[in-house]
Amino acid sequence: MEETLRNGRTVRKPKKHKKMTWSLIKDQRQLIYMSVPLLAYIVLFAYVPIWGWTMAFQDYKPAKSFSDQKWVGFKHFEFLFKDDSFLQVLRNTLAMSVINLILGFVTAIILALLLNEIRKVFWKRTVQTISYLPHFLSWIIVTGIVATSLASDGIVNDVLLKLHLIKEPIQWLSDGKYFWGIVGASHVWKEVGWNTIIYLAAMASIDPALYEAAEIDGASRYRKMFHVTLPGIKPTIIILLIMSIGHILEAGFEVQYLLGNGLVVDWSQTIDIFVLKYGLAQGNYSLATAAGIFKTVVSVTMLLFANWIAKRLGEERLL
């Protein structure tokens, strides 16, 4: 960062350290005018809504003015943390999120590496297109497909039966121990192609000379993948990882809600579903807001933490 600053200064003739003076402001007023709309946009859509957080400390009733609301302090946070099932819900959210995160990363990088090795452009394009198409389906359709495939006469059981791996159909959706796996697998199926796009783009920017040099040194295909391609996309991986860690409490909602049922509820309920049941469905918007604040605080903390780790490891950082 400092380097670029120094560079910037040298280009712009070495002057004395610029202070914020009226003349400077006047000098650059066009720039300031130009930034006003953007600033207003950010204030309006990113900071003004934070005002809504006050709801979490009230017994918020819609259609009443702010001064008529009843203030209740931390009551809703207490309800959240004192509820027996909240810990379990938190566990499920974290578990499914981590599974999605790791599975998502690993599969996307592997697919990108493999795609990168395909020399025939036609096949590469075909595979890529097929793998990212599910991204455009909504979760309601995907869960429909998943539920149908996992039914006792669905394709999954059919294949397993034909291969003689099982003797009778498995009730995939009625057993909690499968649930996280099913959610992870559905995520991979839906998003893997989409997630590879950014890695493929990163790979495209690797200097071909590096591959040639490696080849002259006698590196095999796998060696090149391992020593050239992977290090080449490492900064991208780290940045994406930091960003995803910020979303660690967003395991999603639709999949779990649509695939969940009474038998797997101990594994399927996430924070969002909990909030829907006890917050929104009961008109208790305050509780929903409290949960939102909790999620935001955790997310920001995790993001800063991941960033700090990256800094300690001397890697690219987000902030």
Binding site: Q30, V36, Q171, L173, S174, G262, V265, K277, G283
Partner: protein, 567 residues
């Protein structure tokens, strides 16, 4: 240079101005709302000025929100066109897409209401509806007469009437030929093959299903499913509600009302008896393995295939699947509702006298520009000639009158009435379904419901059903049920508003969650484990503050008994 500077300044001023406009527009919501309130007030006060407007036909549009999914009528719909020609009113419908609570939440947050909306306690609670009693008294003599007997019942706890109930106002004993409520349903062929027995108890019911399933392991190539339970999302009664009926109680939702006192039944011994029976028949493979993981679509698909022998459900909930069986000409696969009880000493109480449906119907919102006009329109449309048009259609086109003065239909007309596409162009169901309506008989003695007209029902019966009913000596499938006793004035308990966010509601949600979790577990458990699962279940329920829930219901039931005097 100078000119340049000025244009930059002008440009930025314009930007600032437009931003300011955007900002002020955002903040303007409350102003417009106030304005709307003022106009409604004006409309209430200044009736004298608009009194005359009723006579001339001047076109006006009413925007309507319907709180359930539906289809837009065709633009040239016959009935709406007639309404427009005669009264000037046209409707702009918005149907629910997605989740009702979410949609209403957004609407309430922005006070963004159309002129008319279907009733919802959330809306009443948020002050979205205007009080109607004075409007009706002054401008709607027909409506006043229509609701006379129910006037007190319609009042909210604050003494105002906010919504006009759509169903449950009867002017005579209803003719009924179609049972829409809960029952243990069984495929007609199962009864036919067993020699048309009178099935009264749960044990007999599962016995004949087991026998049939043994004989026919597949139906049309699909493996036969003995018993199906749907427990998905809000359609959860298939699992929860049966025990109260088995002990001879009507549908009160989550409680049984005995001697005027409501109590939950989920953890009682008679509930255990039912689930133990299910556990037992599950051991014999009668219950569908996927029953607790399926969603509503999968459930409907299974019923439509004709492979499901029985289930506990409400008729309207699976009606479209049954219609599909009729379309496929698989009449022997359609269902008969049976009012089962634990033993024959118990009188079945499935069929009930319809109570006033307070949770549905229209309310006029605070945003309505001219509530007086709307109430006058509703008043016009409750008149008998309009009601005939809504239910039977146009004389000569949709039905005919025979020599005895009875309304009848030709087979062609009958078929049209079950055709969804035809209905969109020729019926005003989107409006009429939620509007105040006459139920029972018209002044000339014809039934208000075409399907309930006895001779019309008989004429429309298929050969198979005629024969089937003849075996039992019944006139219609409703005759399987005992006559409904007079309702307790406070009935039904399921319509009690638990109040969003209250302890009672939270407890109820938690109890439902426990049932959704433990009942499937108990039913699917090995017989030896059943008792331990049940014990855990009742123990978990015991931890909840069930009393808060019961108290709330009893309080409202008491309030109803005190205030709902029917003349």
């Amino acid at each position: 240079m100078g000119g340049n500077k000025k244009s930059v300044l002008r440009f930025s001023m314009m930007l600032l101005l437009s931003l300011g406009l955007v900002l002020s527009a955002c903040g303007g919501g409350s102003n417009t709302k106030d304005a709307a309130k003022n106009t409604t007030k004006d409309a209430n006060n200044g009736q004298a000025t608009t009194e005359k407007a009723g006579d001339t036909v001047e076109p006006f549009e009413i925007s309507v929100f319907i709180g359930e999914a539906g289809q837009q009528p065709t633009p040239d719909n016959k009935i709406y066109k007639m309404i427009k020609d005669k009264t000037g009113a046209s409707f702009k419908f918005e149907f629910l897409a997605g989740d009702i609570d979410q949609k209403l939440g957004v609407m309430i947050a922005g006070s963004d209401y159309p002129d008319m909306m279907t009733a919802n306690q959330k809306l009443t609670g948020a002050g979205a509806f205007i009080p109607l009693e004075d409007l009706i008294e002054e401008h709607a003599p027909n409506l006043k007469k229509h609701y006379e007997k129910y006037w007190n019942m319609m009042k909210d706890s604050d003494g105002h009437i906010y919504t006009l109930p759509n169903y449950g106002v009867y002017n005579s004993d209803p003719d009924s030929t179609w049972y829409s409520g809960p029952a243990f349903w069984i495929q007609k062929d199962v009864l036919a093959e067993a020699g048309y027995p009178q099935v009264k108890t749960l044990d007999e019911y599962f016995d004949i299903i087991a026998k049939y399933k043994e004989k026919h392991s597949t139906i049309d190539g699909t493996p036969t499913i003995g018993f199906e339970i749907l427990n998905y999302d809000w359609r959860n009664w298939g699992l929860f509600n049966a025990p109260q009926h088995l002990i001879g109680h009507p549908n009160d939702g989550g409680v049984v009302v005995e001697n005027g006192v409501a109590q939950i039944f989920a953890d009682k011994d008679y509930a255990k008896r039912y689930y133990q029976k299910l556990n037992e028949v599950n051991q014999n493979g009668l219950i569908d393995k996927e029953t607790f993981t399926q969603n509503y679509d999968q459930y409907m698909a299974k019923i439509s295939s004709g492979a499901v022998l029985g289930m506990f459900d409400q008729h309207w909930n699976f009606q479209s699947a049954e219609d599909s069986l009729t379309t496929q000409q698989k009449l022997e696969r359609t269902y008969v509702g049976l009012p089962l009880v634990y033993d024959t000493s118990i009188r079945d109480y499935y069929k009930e006298r319809p109570a006033l449906n307070l949770d549905n119907g229209f309310g006029i919102t605070v945003n309505a520009k001219d509530p007086e006009k709307i109430i006058k329109l509703l008043d016009t449309l409750i008149a008998e000639d309009w009601q005939k048009i809504f239910t039977w259609g146009i004389e000569g086109e949709d039905y005919y009158v025979n020599e005895q003065g009875r309304y009848m239909k030709t087979q062609e007309q009958r078929d049209k009435f079950t055709d969804g596409t035809w209905k969109l162009a020729n019926k005003a169901d989107a409006f009429f379904g939620r509007a105040p309506k006459m139920q029972g008989k018209f002044s000339d003695g014809n039934s208000t419901d075409a399907a309930a007209q006895p001779e019309e029902y008989q004429a429309g019966l298929k050969e198979y059903d005629k024969n089937f009913l003849a075996q039992y000596g019944f006139n219609s499938y409703v005759d399987f049920f005992s006559e409904a006793p007079e309702n307790d004035i406070a009935y039904p308990a399921w319509s009690v508003d638990l109040v969003d966010g209250s302890e009672a509601k939270i407890v109820n949600t938690k109890q439902n969650e426990l049932s959704t979790k433990y009942l499937p577990k108990a039913i699917l458990a090995k017989s030896a484990d059943f008792d331990s699962v049940w014990e855990e279940y009742t123990k978990e329920i015991g931890k909840l503050n069930i009393k808060a829930y019961e108290d709330r219901i009893n309080e409202v039931l008491q309030w109803r008994r005190d205030t709902w005097t029917v003349k």
